[in-house]
């Protein structure tokens, strides 16, 4: 008794075949190009496929005008300016009152002047026309959703690139593109048109995103965990851009909504805050897992901390009342990393967190009315715990004693004795930190060029050593130490 797989899903079979073909091509290596056989088969272009449309004026509107007026009025100034003749920006400004949109809205994507015009006019039917054309074209030509399209990846890639450039120009995403992403991300293999898809993700509108978890987070997470480190970093960069675009939009529109009802402002604001918080927690989660998978790779940490560089400044820079600390699975690998770049980045981020928290407390105290949003005491506690660990690692050598975070550095004396490190109570600070040891060595070489014993304990007085470090370009370290560490002793 044999059972067969139901063969009703064509796309799966086609996708497997395509992947098999791609793997075969990769494994066979370079093959000598034989004349004629190496040409890719150009598929017969469908008549209804419209990836690139040249802008041309409508011709049927003249029918309506003739019917109404009876004859063409040669002296009237209501003759519209033909779109094909629009070449320069001054021309656009001169003719803006009599310019008509082209007969096919899809042509505006490759025409910056028409994009300007579309932005000014704010016509519902214009957006709807563009919406229908773009959503149909994206669905029809998608190379991973439609079995026959896998040969035409280059063309689709160019099309996605065009859509992305138009979004960057308008500083806003297209809703048809967003819907396309929700439908196609669950089917995406992470390979086809990778950089274009991730770039388009960054223009998703967070403020109206109700199903972020199922439509964006789940499909991305699936691909994220099973992919290379470069893909992981690309996703993190894309999510950072997504966050930034939404924050910039919020900041820009906050000014224009200043006069509107306070109530509606608060509801949309709380909606945005919730979605942004969900996104940040999602990134925190995947970053923690990714760091374990990639063994705390410095390359990966750079992108993760880059994301948190945006997160830490949300209150002061973008006026969004939200502060979320990085999870322990990100903070501790960064604190204990072997790389000074990472440590420097972390110091800068913690400095900005402090600045934001201090400003928030100030605003709380000074304002008479009760603010709807204020940072919870839990946030302050999290921050304080991290600071204790950081100061312990960099300054007071007391990280192992003072840090009581469940995923932190607290360790028993017994365990520390087993490490065999002499004077362990004073041997983990800015001089001895593995990320900073390189600087200590260079310092000793410069100060005592003949001494080859590299006695780190010579670096006692902190002031001039810190000046030395700051001169090496460790700006983050500088601002962190100057803000968070009260220097009691003024050593020489």
């Amino acid at each position: 008794f044999q059972t067969y797989f139901k063969n009703s899903e064509g796309p799966w079979k086609a996708a497997i075949d395509a992947l098999r073909r791609r793997n075969q091509e990769n494994s066979l290596g370079l093959q000598p190009l034989l004349l004629g056989t190496a040409q890719p088969q150009s598929r017969k272009r469908k008549w209804n496929a419209q990836l690139v449309i040249p802008a041309s004026s409508t011709n049927r509107n003249s029918l309506e005008k003739n019917k109404e007026k009876g004859c063409v009025d040669l002296y009237s100034t209501s003759v519209s300016f033909p779109v094909e003749q629009l070449q320069t920006f001054p021309q656009l400004l001169q003719n803006i009152h009599r310019l008509e949109f082209p007969s096919q809205m899809g042509s505006v994507l490759t025409n910056p002047l028409l994009l300007h015009y579309m932005n000014c006019m704010k016509d519902e039917s214009v957006y709807l026309r563009l919406y229908y054309w773009m959503s149909q074209t994206l669905q029809e030509e998608c190379t991973w959703c439609v079995a026959d399209n896998s040969q035409c990846e280059e063309e689709f890639k160019d099309f996605l690139e065009t859509v992305y450039k138009a979004e960057c120009f308008l500083q806003e995403g297209f809703s048809s593109c967003e819907e396309f992403l929700y439908k196609s991300l669950p089917l995406w293999d992470g390979q086809s048109c990778r950089s274009q898809v991730l770039k388009l993700v960054s223009w998703i509108s967070l403020r109206s995103f109700s199903e972020m978890k199922s439509q964006l987070c789940d499909p991305l997470a699936q691909l994220f965990f099973t992919s290379s480190i470069y893909f992981k970093c690309s996703v993190l960069e894309s999510l950072k851009e997504l966050l930034q675009n939404s924050l910039i939009w919020h900041m820009v529109h906050l000014d224009s909504e200043a006069d509107s009802q306070a109530h509606s402002l608060n509801t949309t604001l709380s909606g945005l805050v919730n979605v942004v918080a969900e996104l940040i927690r999602f990134v925190g989660w995947i970053s923690t897992v990714a760091l374990r998978l990639e063994k705390n790779s410095t390359f990966l940490l750079y992108f993760i901390l880059d994301f948190y560089e945006t997160v830490c400044d949300m209150y002061l820079k973008y006026n969004l009342p939200l502060l979320i600390m990085p999870p322990a699975g990100v903070f501790y690998p960064a604190l204990l990393s072997m790389d000074s770049v990472t440590l420097n980045q972390l110091c800068y981020i913690m400095y900005r967190y402090r600045t934001n928290l201090v400003a928030a407390k100030e605003n709380e105290r000074s304002k008479k009315k009760i603010l709807q949003f204020k940072f919870s005491s839990q946030t302050y506690q999290e921050y304080n715990q991290y600071i204790i660990a950081m100061v312990g690692c960099l300054w007071t050598s007391s990280a192992f004693q003072k840090d009581n975070h469940p995923q932190g550095l607290g360790m028993d004396d017994e365990l520390l004795k087993k490490t065999g490190v002499q004077e362990y109570k004073t041997s983990f600070n800015i001089v001895y930190h593995p990320a900073m040891m390189g600087y200590a060595l260079c310092f000793l070489q410069q100060a005592w060029p003949d001494d080859t014993t590299f006695n780190f304990s010579l670096i006692k007085g902190r002031n001039w050593y810190l000046e030395y470090l700051y001169a090496q370009g460790l700006e983050g370290l500088k601002v962190f130490i100057e803000s968070s560490i009260n220097r009691v002793s003024q050593a020489s």
């Binding site: 008549w47 209804n48 419209q50 007969s103 229908y132 074209t137 669905q139």
Partner: protein, 285 residues
């Protein structure tokens, strides 16, 4: 009434979904026809003529088909016909119809209420004739009314629904049998299995499955298909359920998964169109 739509029957129609047409007016059909004829003549000059040899003038006629709608709220169907007239003999030569296509919208819901004023919703397009003419006419509509045509394919799931629904329709003369065609793909050569059942037997089976008249559930369709599969297996030891259903032919209509239909009974025409309109709308949404 059925006389006016009789010419739609027994022809193979290729299905497309169409996004709403912008600034389309049913009052200007004659002008549209003129523009379309001019556009076709221009394409012919470019060298896209189908007929070789005799110089043929192609004339386009666009008209309304008033009967194909569910209610008065539906947009009236629009018919486009291309016919040739030999340019040698002028008046008395017979016009030969070479291509026809029609837009329609048969739906229970009022689709126009959500749509802006300037848009006309005619989501289903059916074409019969050479592909080159379909492409010329379709391209003209795309350029003029900023719409998008997409081939409407029918999934095996929808085909099985059609098989169940159409089998349940009462017909007077049962000349044709109900036929299901399956494609077997795991073989190196293409193989189709055709499974034909007497219409009365199929209807009797469906009547035992369907619980509420006028309502059909997915479960009932599955039971119906399973019965047919197990009957076939009993005789031929082949599991049809593992194969791909590609074509369904019943007494009232036939449909192929490539996206083509044939209407065989005018009394059920609107019913079938309603189903196809729904499929077209799901492809546009």
């Amino acid at each position: 009434e059925s006389q006016r739509t009789a010419f739609l029957l027994c022809k193979q129609w290729t299905l497309y979904s169409v996004t709403p047409l912008y600034k389309f007016s049913s009052a200007l059909l004659k002008d549209y026809a003129k523009l379309l004829s001019a556009s076709i003549a221009a394409e012919k000059q470019k060298g896209l003529a189908v007929e070789v040899g005799v110089e043929l003038d192609i004339k386009a006629v666009i008209s309304i088909l008033p009967d194909l709608r569910h209610s008065d709220r539906d947009q009236a169907a629009i018919l486009v016909q291309l016919s040739t007239r030999s340019s040698f003999s002028k008046k008395n030569s017979a016009e030969k119809l070479i291509w026809s296509g029609w837009f329609c919208c048969v739906s229970e819901d009022d689709l126009s209420e959500n749509l802006l004023e300037d848009f006309t919703c005619l989501p289903l397009f059916l074409a019969n004739g050479a592909e080159t003419y379909t492409s010329i006419v379709g391209s003209w509509f795309q350029k003029t009314f900023d719409c998008c045509f997409r081939r409407l394919t029918i999934s095996p799931l929808n085909l099985s629904w059609m098989a169940a629904m159409w089998t349940g329709c009462k017909v007077d003369k049962t000349t044709s049998a109900t036929e299901l065609v399956f494609s077997v793909s795991c073989l190196p050569y293409p193989l189709d299995i055709s499974y034909a059942i007497h219409t009365e037997d199929a209807k009797a089976l469906w009547d035992t499955v369907q619980k509420t008249p006028g309502e059909i559930t997915q479960e009932e369709v599955d039971i119906f298909m399973d019965c047919l599969y197990s009957h076939f297996h009993r005789h031929f030891k082949i599991h049809l359920s593992t194969m791909r259903l590609v074509k369904v032919s019943t007494a009232i209509a036939s449909a192929h998964c490539d996206g083509s239909v044939k209407f065989l009974q005018s009394q059920y025409l609107t019913g079938v169109l309603m189903l196809l309109t729904e499929l077209a709308l799901s492809q546009i949404q």
